[in-house]
Structures are given as C-alpha cells and as structure tokens.
Symmetry: C2
Subunit: 403 residues, 2 copies
C-alpha cells in the first residue's frame, strides 16, 4: 500500500504561560513576571471585544490532551501521526493567544510599539526552547527561529548563525517594518547572503498587520480605553493577506533575488488566491509600455520578469482550499505546500484527512506528491529517506485522496 509523504509547512509550538522564564537571559526574568501579568490582562481585555472566548473554549473541549502537543514532544508525535503528518515546519505561538513568546516576539512580530531589547530577549528565549524541541525529532521538524531583523542586521545575522548551529533551518522575519528600512534596502544584503549561504529559509508568516489603522488608537486594547473601531476585524482579515505577501514586492523589485539567486522565501498562512493577480500585475509593470515610460528605467537591474523570481525563489505554505487547488496551474503547483496549522482552531487538524479529500478531488498523483510534501521537502531540505518510513506508517493512502 502506497502512502503520501505529508509535510505540514505551517505548524505551531510554544510553552504555556510562565514556561519561557527559564529560557530567558536572567536579566529579563523580573520584567517577564510583570509581562505575564500584562499579557493576562490584555487577553481579558481582548476577549471582551474581539476574540470569542466561548467559541474557543468550545473548540478546545475534549481536545485538552491533544493540545498539550503544543509543547510536549511525545504528545506532539502522537497527534501528528494521527493526523497523517510525517514532517513539519514549526512556528511559534502554540495555541495562538495562550502560548506566545514574551515581549511581542510572537506571530504578531512587529517593531511598531515594541521594545527592541525585550523583543530580542523574547525571540531568543523561544529559539532556545524550540531548538530543544526540534532536536527531539530532527528528521521530522524544521524549526523556525524568530528574528526581529528590522532592529539591527548584525544582530539578525548572529541569530541566524546561532539558529543554524543549533539545528534550526529556518527563520521568521517581521512582515511589517514600521519606520525601519523595508526589505529592498541594501542594509539587509548581508542577511540575505548568510541565509543563502547557510541554506536557511526565510519565512513571512501572517499575523502582524497595520492594526492601529484598523482598530483605532486604543490598540492593543487597554483597560478603560475606547472600544475598537467597528469594521476593524473585517479590514484586518482582508489586509493581513496583503501584508504578508507585501515583502515580495520589495524583494523582487529591489533585485534581492537577482543578487541572491539561491535565497528561499516562504509566505506562510497567507492563502494562495492572490498569486495569479500579483504575478500578472508585477509582470505588466515590468513590460515596457506607454504608461510607465515617463518614469524612466526602473528595471534594468532585473534580468528576469518578476514572476520568474517568484517561481524560482518563493513558496507558499498554507491550508489549500478547494478553490485554490482548482486554480493550482495558475498559482503554480510547484509553489504550493500544504499546512495544517496545528494546533490552531482555524487549521485542518484534526480533520486533515477529510479536508484533503475535499480539496484534492480529482488531482493527479504527481501533483499531490508535490503539494502534500515533495515541494516542502526540497525547499526546507528535509531528509526524505529518513521521513519515508514514517510516511509509510502514518501518511494518507494513495487512492483515498486525489485522483
């Protein structure tokens, strides 16, 4: 019986509140105790207006044990086996609002309103713990180190080196940069160079956006402040997808992939629906025509058209909805990678098999091999020989999904 190798390119892990204390450099532990209180307070405030506590509590009921896989190695192996997943790319924020690294170093990573020193401290604490988690099953886990690179590129490079030396083969950079330099600025070139050289995948994961624009000046919510603006959440869920893909416009037009042809960039949990429109739009602007002639030469530093860089250097790691799979040839079968988002409630776990059945109906075998695990294996450099026996034991059966 043949089984598919599934690699989830969007998984999350994080310690329960308080757990990060011992991973922090000692000088930050007192601040951490204050931070824990503040986080709890903010979570309470946030729940009043934004998150629906009932829905989340309901979703978690009966899954308490499985959700401890957010930080527990043995439980995590059991859950992923049960979900048919052999390999995973591991981001921070285990159960979203409950397991975020301290000091704003989580999935909402952003320099806006953050404290540079503390955010770095929080990121390093998570990276240390994550390295331990990944070392417990190095063939199955590619850990994503948090690197708040917009503060300081030298510090970012040092963290990339530390991550690589400690078995983490990927990094997550902020998707927003506030008043800092955007990613086409040459100041980042040494960072791209080291990522290319060490074969470290750069990830942009959906989360941060321009929330102060959506929710108003009292954001994040503070006790006694004004309620968030009506409509803010709708704007957020629409703009977040644009925000996470936005760095690509800067990297491509800035010539980053021209200078670093081996650099690999993943956009994670950002859907794939935008790809056909973006490629068309970028390429139109690249073709010399009437509308842009008066602006002079702005493309001779690029030897290929924008979509060529996208095809070569970029991959998308996310749940693939049926409507996206239907358009896979426009989006690019070779650019699409499945992600379960375990243990987040918006992910496919624990219905991954059912959702694959729906999404992939009629899709040929070779394309399934690519989207379920093949693309991810080569992009993140998984050792497929080591994964093969695991996939042969837990993967979805050929014929049960797809054509």
């Amino acid at each position: 019986m043949e089984r598919y190798l599934v690699i989830s390119t969007d998984c999350h892990a994080g310690l329960p509140p308080g757990g990060y204390r011992e991973y922090l450099d000692p000088q930050y532990r007192e601040r951490f105790d204050v931070e824990i209180e503040r986080q709890l307070e903010m979570a309470r405030e946030s729940r009043k207006s934004m998150l629906v506590e009932d829905i989340n509590r309901e979703w978690r009921r009966g899954r308490e044990q499985d959700l401890t896989g957010a930080w527990d190695h043995d439980q995590r192996i059991k859950v992923l086996d049960g979900d048919g997943v052999a390999g995973e790319v591991v981001f921070c924020d285990g159960i979203t609002e409950n397991n975020s690294p301290p000091f704003g170093a989580g999935i909402g990573l952003s320099p806006v309103g953050a404290d540079r020193e503390l955010q770095w401290a929080g990121a390093r604490a998570h990276n240390r713990w994550l390295a331990e988690l990944c070392q417990m099953a190095p063939e199955r886990r590619v850990g994503v180190a948090i690197v708040p690179a917009t503060w300081d590129v030298d510090e970012a490079i040092a963290e990339v080196r530390w991550a690589r030396a400690n078995g983490l083969r990927s990094v997550m950079l902020p998707v927003v940069w506030g008043d800092h330099d955007p990613y086409h600025h040459p100041v980042y070139d040494p960072l791209w160079r080291i990522c290319q050289e060490l074969e470290v995948v750069v990830n942009f994961h959906s989360g941060a956006a321009e929330s102060q624009h959506y929710f108003g000046r009292n954001w994040p919510p503070a006790p006694g402040g004004e309620p968030p603006l009506v409509g803010g959440m709708g704007i957020y869920v629409c703009e977040a997808v644009w925000v996470v893909a936005r760095p690509l416009t800067f990297l491509i037009w800035g010539g980053v992939f021209e200078r670093f042809p081996g650099l690999r960039v993943a956009v994670t949990e950002g859907t794939t629906s935008w790809v056909p429109h973006y490629l068309e739009h970028w390429d139109e602007r690249y073709v010399d025509w009437h509308v842009t002639t008066k602006l002079g030469d702005y493309k001779s530093h690029l030897s290929m058209k924008p979509s060529d860089y996208f095809r070569r250097n970029v991959r998308l790691g996310t749940f693939l909805a049926r409507r996206e799979v239907v358009r896979r040839h426009e989006i690019g079968v070779e650019n699409m990678m499945w992600g379960t988002d375990y243990p987040h409630p918006e992910g496919t776990w624990p219905q991954t098999h059912e959702m694959m059945t729906v999404s992939f109906e009629g899709v040929p075998h070779e394309e399934l091999v690519a989207m379920l695990g093949g693309n991810a294996a080569s992009f993140y450099r998984f050792d497929t020989e080591k994964l093969a026996p695991i996939a042969a034991r837990v993967g979805p059966e050929r014929g049960a999904i797809g054509d």
Copy 2:
C-alpha cells in the same frame, strides 16, 4: 450616423507655474514665491534620478499648443473635440510635474510631511480656479475639488459645500492618511453624509503612495542627499494601484456604504485588473467559515456582502486596456468608465480613437455605450441632453469601434 457619447472620467487641468498666486488667499502669497523656487529645485533634483526628461520633452515636441489646453479653455475644447470626448471629469495636475497646485495639494495629496494650513491654502487656490474653468463649459466639465479631509472633517465639509455651491460636483480625498484616522472612523460620517446629500462624488485618484518606503529616507529628493533606493520605482508602480483601491476595504468593512447607501465613490487611474481578486477575497472573508470563526462576529453590521456594496456604490475611471475589457464581465461592465488622462503622456490622448479600437474589438454596442460614457453620465450626473449634440458632432462613430 450614430456616434458614441464619450466622457473621460480621468482628465487633468492646472495653471502654469506662478499662475496660482492670484488665487491664493493674500497671506500665503509670499510663501508661494518661495514654494515656486523650491518646486523648481525639486523638479531638477527629481529629474536627475527619476523622471526621464528626454522622454518627456520628446513626447511634448509638436504638441506644445495642444498642451496649453491644460489651462486654456478654448484650446481645451478644441483638443477634446479632436479626441472625440464630449464630457470630462477634471482633476488637478495639468501636465503632471509642471502644473501641480502649490504646497503639496496636487495629485500626490497626502498629509505625510505636509503643512496643514498651507496644503489647505493650495487646495482652495486650485478649487477657485477650477470652478472658473468649469463654469466656461458647465455641461461638459465635472470639476473635482481637492479636499485634504484627513486634517479636519469640519473644514472638509465646508469645502464640499463651497465646491457644490460653485459648480464643482466632485471631490478628491487623499488616498493615504499617515497617522490620521482612516476612512472607516466615525469621525468622517458627517463628511459622507454631506457628500451623499449634495450628490457629490468622492474620488480616490492614483498618485500618493508610501513613497518614503520605496525610495528611502531622502524622499522627496533634496540636493546633496542620498540617491533613491534601487527598485523603488518598480515598487511604486505596483503598490500605487493597491494604495488607491485600499480605502474601499476600509469603507466597505467599516459599514460606510451601509450607513450612506447613496454615497458614490470613484477609484481613478487605478486600473481595473484587481477587481475580480478583491471581490473574491472580500466576499470569502465575509462568509462565515472555519478560518475566521475564532475572531467572533465582525460582519453583522453589514446587510450585504462586500461585492454588493462595490457594485452599487463604486465606479472605476481609467484607461481600459484590452486585457481588462476582455475580463469586463468579471470586473463589471457597469462599474467601468473610460478615461483618457489628457494631458498626461501615459494617457490615450491623442491616440484615443486608435486605443479604443484595440481595447473594444468585438464588444457589443450596449456595453460600449455604458463604458464609454453612459456609466459616467449617471454616476457624475452629467446632463446627457446637453451633451448629445456635442457627442453627435465629435464622438466616435458606431461601427468604427466595437462590434
């Protein structure tokens, strides 16, 4: 012989340098003399690095007389007649970089880095002159008053009233808001109310964007400063289209069209290619599903799905390329309005007829009637009876374009 009524929903007019002096309130005239010098200096700096003076000069050669239609009534009538255009919506910035209202009140209207009092003064100077220009041919011209609304809503409302009382039936608002309130904030509700009540069309015109992100900290270019970042212009030409459509996300999700169902908003010179993707994306986020459930209710203030508001309240005024016309049923024939961009070099003038021939090949008569002028006539409330004899004299012949 039947001829089409053509209304160009994207035209530009502006005085030559120095001309705005007499339209300014007297207390700003000294500052204006300084500003003129600064503008010339900036234009020189800008030309060094960005705009290709040779290309622009070449394009203008032999068209000097026709280009004076940017400010001269008689010449303008002659040029538009010759281009087949009976009616027009008139924005600022006659010949782009040569005829911009003073103090940053032009097509790049933005509160970022601007002086509130001076920008208002520049806007009012242009509005006064534009009202005169439009009164010379009120049946043919809908003038677009400049309203830098993010500074102060009361001042904006007063300007809308002034504009309407002086024959200007449309306003242009900034497409970026910097640190000011975005357009879903209830502070703007009185502005939407007055625009709805006075039947004034709100326009967002492509121009301003987040240029300091694209070109670097030395933007706009100052003598002796660093050169702009490589790739900045490519990023600009891609992001500008997103930036000009971005307010729609805020207006729709903020419930503005729910509260003001008669409010009319045009997105100008922003292409139409993005529409199918945007509508799909907005509507997906509106449908209650798995991915967004944990965020709670964020849509019960909307009685329709986002694309319904778009179809009812929004129109697009721009050059319609062949590739857009081919997708017109996805984009929405009833939402598309032709624009020549006269007298800008990136527009269709003086090849409007030829470009219509290419764009509209095979398009049925009724759809042509809508896209060439019918949609614009009803949206901007042109008096089609008064325009009919002009169209019958200058419009493109039925059969010469389209099916």
